[in-house]
Symmetry: none
Subunit: 248 residues, 2 copies
DNA sequence: AATTTATTTGCGTATTTATGCAGTATTAAA
DNA sequence: TTTAATACTGCATAAATACGCAAATAAATT
C-alpha cells in the first residue's frame, strides 16, 4: 500500500471517528507504528489533523476544546452589539440559551422596554437584571446539560405564541446542513421557537460556521438573519449570501 | 481515551455546569483521580479553567462561586442540614426561593434521587447542579425582585400537583400572625404551594422569628414543621410548641 | 535492463510521556 | 476538635516517541 493511500485511509478514519490511534492504524494497515507516526506527523504538518500522544485528532475536534473554553470572548460581544439593534421597544422576543445569548442580554440598554420569553434558566436570570423588561419563562422539566425547559409541554406553549424575533444561540451552522445540534430534546424546543417567531436570528461565532452536528434544527431557508462577529462581506460567509439569508 | 479527549470532555463539562468535581470525572472517564488532577492542573496552567480543591471552575462564571460562597451564612447551613434529612429518595418536593432554600439545595447529597418542583430561577439553577434529581420549573411571568414565576397560571399549575413536601423560605413568622410577606403576587404563589403539599416546612433564621409583614401567607396551623438554626428547646421558640407545629 | 539515486520502511535502543499507587500532608466539612 | 476528603510527593511501570541505521522499495538515469 502506498503512502498516499494510507494517508487517505487515515483521513477517512479521522472524518468518521474524529480520532485515530497509532496502534489501531498499525494493525489495520499492517505497517509499523513508526510509519504511522511518520504519517501522522506529515498530515499534522499539512495542517489537516492534530497529532497527539497516542494518535491524532480531527481539527474540528480540537476546535471544540478551544472555542468553548475561551474566557469572555470578544467575538460574542461583537455579535451581541449587532443583535441588540434589532430589538425595539414593545417587541416580544424569544431567546434561547447559551453564552452568546447571555452576552446579548447583558448588552441590552437599560431603558429598553420589551418583553422577553425564554426557556433557558441562565438567560432568565440575566434578563431579571434589566429594570424595564418583562420576562416570561416557559417552564417544564429542565434538562441538566442545557439548563433549559424541554418536553411536549414547552413545545405546546411555544405554539401558542407569535413573537417578533427569535434569537438562537447556534452550535453548528452550515450551508448544506443548516443549523444542527446534538440533543433531540433541545432540538424539539428550538424548532418550536422557530415556528412561533416572525423573524429568526441565528447568532454564531465564526468558529461554528461550516460545522455540522448530528441532528437538524432547521434548514437555512428558515433563518432570516445570521449574525457573526465577522464583516458580512467576509470570504467564509459568501456561500451563505446566495441562500437569501440576511447577514449582519 | 486520549488525553486531549479527556481535556475536551472536561472543558465541555465546565461549559455546561460551570464546575466539575475530580471524583465525578474520575468515574466518568474511568481514570484515577490523580490523572484528573493533573489534567485540571494543565488546563489551569493554560488558563482556561480555575482549579480548586476538589475540582475546577469555569473562568467565565467565576462570579457564580463568589455569590454562592458569600451568601452562605452559617445559620442557613444549619437549617439546610436539618431540612435535608426530611427529603427521601423518590419524593416529590416543592421549593420556594431565597438563600436558605439555595443552601438547602447545596447541601443535598449527590446520590439523592428525587424530583423537585420550583418557581424560583436561582433555586432551579442550583438544582440543576445535582446529578440525580429531576427538576421541574413552573414558568410564567417572572417577578424581578423575587426572581420567581408569579401569576394565575402558576397558581393553576400548582393546584394540579400533590407534593410530599413543600419547603418555604420564610421572611416573617409569628405565633399570632403566622407567616407573612410583602408582595401580593409572591403570596398568591406561596399559598398555592402550601395547598398542593402534604407537608409544609417553614425554614426561618431566628432573626425572622416574631416579625410580621403586611400580608398573610398562611396561619401557623397550616405549617407542619418549623426549622430554625436554634435548638428546638430554645426560649424564643416556646410559644410555637403550643400551636402543634413540629419544631426541629 | 542495469545501475544509480532517492525515498520509504522496519527494527533496536534510548528517552520521554502518561498513568497509577502508596504514603504523607493538607484542607474542608461534621 | 475530629474526621473524611482531597492534594502532593516520589516512585514504578507501561506505553509512546525519537533517533540512527540498514534493508527494502520506488524513481530516475544511463
Amino acid at each position: 500500500m502506498l503512502k498516499k493511500e494510507r494517508h487517505a485511509y487515515i483521513m477517512h478514519e479521522i472524518d468518521i471517528h474524529n480520532k485515530v490511534l497509532s496502534s489501531d492504524l498499525s494493525l489495520q494497515l499492517t505497517v509499523s507504528e513508526d510509519t504511522i507516526r511518520r504519517d501522522l506527523q506529515e498530515l499534522d504538518e499539512k495542517g489537516i489533523l492534530t497529532k497527539v500522544h497516542g494518535g491524532a485528532l480531527s481539527k474540528s475536534f480540537h476546535f471544540t476544546l478551544q472555542n468553548k473554553t475561551v474566557f469572555s470572548q470578544p467575538e460574542k460581544k461583537i455579535i451581541a452589539h449587532k443583535a441588540r439593534n434589532l430589538i425595539k421597544d414593545g417587541m416580544l422576543v424569544l431567546l434561547s440559551g447559551g453564552t452568546t445569548i447571555i452576552e446579548l442580554v447583558k448588552s441590552l440598554p437599560p431603558e429598553l422596554n420589551a418583553t422577553f420569553i425564554t426557556v433557558s434558566v441562565p438567560t432568565a436570570l440575566e434578563l431579571l437584571d434589566h429594570p424595564n423588561v418583562e420576562v416570561i419563562f416557559i417552564g417544564n422539566k429542565l434538562l441538566k446539560n442545557a439548563q433549559m425547559s424541554v418536553g411536549a409541554e414547552v413545545v405546546q406553549r411555544l405554539s401558542e405564541i407569535k413573537c417578533d424575533l427569535c434569537f438562537l444561540g447556534t452550535n453548528s451552522i452550515d450551508v448544506e446542513n443548516g443549523i444542527t445540534d446534538l440533543e433531540l430534546e433541545v432540538i424539539e424546543v428550538k424548532r418550536a421557537m422557530i415556528r412561533s417567531a416572525k423573524k429568526v436570528v441565528s447568532l454564531a461565532i465564526s468558529k461554528k460556521i461550516n460545522t455540522t452536528q448530528r441532528m437538524l434544527v432547521c434548514r437555512l431557508e428558515e433563518v432570516d438573519i445570521l449574525i457573526t462577529e465577522l464583516d458580512p462581506a467576509h470570504e467564509i460567509l459568501k456561500p451563505y449570501h446566495s441562500t437569501g439569508i440576511t447577514i449582519i
